[in-house]
């Protein structure tokens, strides 16, 4: 479903050109569990952002579900992102003044889903993720693990086919990290394509397909258990 062909991404820093990605080609089938590992600056986050349509490649072709998405306008990309892709971030990125429930409703509100329907879906997600009693709490009243679970609930609210997680456990203690990983893997078992970017070999090693990136290219691919 994800088909990247010779994707390059060049940043300009001062008068220097930095090649974050060099002609990366990658195919991901529906329902895969993929990890992207590598040192900082290896281009793994850039690759994730391009897959998530937050960033545009400098050259190359990206097809999502068979359709070329590189040539879409910003508006169209936003719509694809809303419907097909869920993001989970290291720093959660919850909106501080909204409650947990309202944060989860946000993508649905942007998509124009009716309030009653949104509300039901948010409550459904909260109770599925063990946060049933936290619907009206603000992010600052939640623990790190709870915040990340709210963020995952928000990412899955629109039932996206792809879930992209950038260091999902990077800001959590071991226990909460484990809970979050379990949650992500449960979602994968239900059919979501999961792509995780991480430094942590333990987390990366759990994926069925592990890509190691060095200097903007995929250096090594390993099969997991």
């Amino acid at each position: 479903m994800i088909d990247l062909q010779r994707i390059s991404r060049v940043f300009r820093v001062g008068d220097q050109q930095v090649h974050a990605l060099r002609e990366v080609s990658l195919q991901v089938q529906p329902g895969e569990y993929l990890s992207l590992m590598g040192p900082s600056g290896s281009g793994k986050s850039t690759l994730l952002n391009i897959i998530g349509l937050l960033d545009r490649p400098s050259s190359g072709l990206y097809r999502l579900d068979g359709a070329d998405v590189t040539s879409l306008s910003d508006e169209e990309q936003a719509r694809v992102r809303r419907e097909k892709i869920g993001f989970v971030f290291q720093f959660f990125h919850l909106v501080a003044r909204l409650t947990a429930g309202q944060n989860i409703e946000l993508p649905m509100a942007l998509a124009g889903v009716a309030p009653a329907q949104r509300h039901t879906r948010a409550l459904e997600l909260l109770s599925a993720y063990g946060l049933a009693d936290r619907a009206d709490h603000r992010p600052d009243q939640l623990s790190g693990g709870q915040r990340q679970r709210v963020a995952i609930a928000r990412a899955t609210a629109m039932r996206p086919a792809v879930l992209l997680a950038d260091e999902p456990t990077g800001n959590l203690d071991r226990n909460s990290g484990k809970e979050v990983v379990q949650l992500l893997e449960t979602l994968h078992e239900r059919g979501v394509t999961l792509i995780v970017v991480t430094h942590d070999p333990e987390l990366g090693g759990r994926a069925h397909r592990q890509l190691h990136m060095v200097d903007g290219a995929i250096a090594e691919e390993r099969k997991g258990t």
Partner: protein, 402 residues
């Protein structure tokens, strides 16, 4: 995104920064309140003057002796010209015009008015029975000057409310005899209290037949002639007739000034209307300042909420939606400020009315509408740039900030 959701999101954002929202709302409110109060004052002054004039009666012409003109003055000659006086016969001749309904000659002086042991100095106005209708005055008690030949100096007078109070106290005045100057007059009637009118207080006045006043002041001239035309349409015809008649009577020389009350009124109306517009404009500047403040704060909000904007993009907000959200926030803020300003403006207005009841201070509808439109328009205008900046933000850079 549903409109209700846009408004709710903007509202929650505004509530998230209460001090900022309150200050911005205040700036907008002050602007709107200033427009409302200043135009209320300006328009109140205008309406006050218009009312004063129209209470003098309608379709009025006023004849003054003399004419303002520049005369060629040669040494040894008269400087300018001595005008012929207006006489009672002049006034009576004017009734010949078909466009003229009523004529009231006026002869004014000052005399001692006494009754019993009390006396006071009072302005004495000599006129005819028609003056009552021309000036829109009313009789509280008794009757006005008797109709009939204006040349007859019948010893009847009409007194103002203050004069009656001071000379008679609570005793009945009608039918009593008062002494005015060195003549005796029977009090025929008492005027309804009207208060001040353009510096002319009917309450303190004593009115006698014009011939009696002329005899009392030993003159045969008139100060003014008031003329009421048959209708508004005939006002110009009446003015032409009056001018023609007086010119003929004054041996072909036009030495009187005839003005319509409307002309005077229109001048005041224009001047005060322009003044109202000017103060409204000055107040509108404060609205523009408030708009720039809103822009400033919205720009700060964009940089403060960079992460949030990045997140909104990540969860599928289109650039148009981001623009809409920031736009809605600024517009909501200026609307709330404008509402508060309207409330404050109307409160200030009613305070003015309470303190100065004579001034009919009320902001005209156009000013209220203009203040609201300007407030919201500045909100809209000055939020375009911050909203565009927010929409153009690079989500990757925005999200990488902690």
């Amino acid at each position: 995104m549903r409109p209700a959701d846009v408004v709710r999101f903007a509202w929650v954002s505004l509530r998230g920064y209460p001090a900022r929202t309150a200050l911005m709302g205040l700036a907008m409110a002050i602007g709107v309140a200033a427009v409302v109060i200043l135009t209320a004052l300006g328009d109140g002054a205008r309406r006050y003057v218009v009312k004063q004039f129209s209470s003098l009666g309608t379709n009025l012409l006023i004849v003054f002796p003399g004419r303002s003109e520049t005369a060629g003055a040669t040494p040894g000659m008269f400087i300018g010209q001595t005008p012929r006086d207006l006489t009672l016969d002049d006034a009576l001749a004017l009734t010949r015009s078909r466009a003229v309904r009523r004529v009231a000659p006026l002869s004014v002086g000052s005399a001692q008015v006494s009754f019993g042991g009390r006396s006071r100095e009072a302005p004495v106005v000599g006129s005819t029975a028609d003056w009552l209708a021309i000036r829109n005055m009313q009789i509280a008690q008794g009757s006005f000057l008797p109709p009939g030949d204006p040349r007859a100096a019948s010893p009847v007078c009409v007194i103002g409310a203050t004069v009656r109070d001071e000379l008679f106290g609570s005793a009945s005045a009608v039918g009593q005899f008062v002494r005015i100057g060195n003549r005796r007059f029977r009090v025929g009637g008492i005027l309804v209290s009207q208060g001040q009118h353009l510096g002319f207080n009917t309450d303190e006045m004593v009115i006698v037949p014009v011939a009696a006043a002329q005899a009392m002041f030993n003159t045969n001239t008139l100060l003014r002639i008031l003329i009421e035309a048959r209708s508004r349409e005939e006002l110009e015809a009446a003015k032409r007739d009056v001018t023609a008649i007086l010119q003929a009577r004054h041996e072909g020389e036009l030495d009187v000034t005839v003005v319509t009350q409307d002309a005077v009124l229109a001048t005041f109306d224009r001047v005060l209307g322009a003044l109202t517009l000017a103060v409204a404009g000055i107040a509108a500047i404060s609205l523009a300042v408030a708009g720039i403040l809103i822009m400033n704060v919205m720009l700060i909000a964009v940089s403060q909420r960079t992460r949030e904007i990045g997140l909104l993009k990540a969860v599928g907000a289109t650039p148009a939606q981001i623009r809409l959200l920031f736009f809605a926030e600024a517009v909501l803020l200026s609307c709330l400020g404008a509402m508060a300003g309207l409330a404050a403006g109307f409160a200030g207005n009613s305070l003015i009315v309470r303190v100065y009841p004579v001034l009919p201070a009320a902001a005209p509808a156009w000013a209220v509408a203009a203040a609201l439109v300007t407030a919201v328009a500045t909100g809209v205008l000055f939020s375009i740039m911050p909203a565009r900046r927010a929409a153009r933000l690079d989500p990757v850079a925005a999200l990488s900030r902690r």
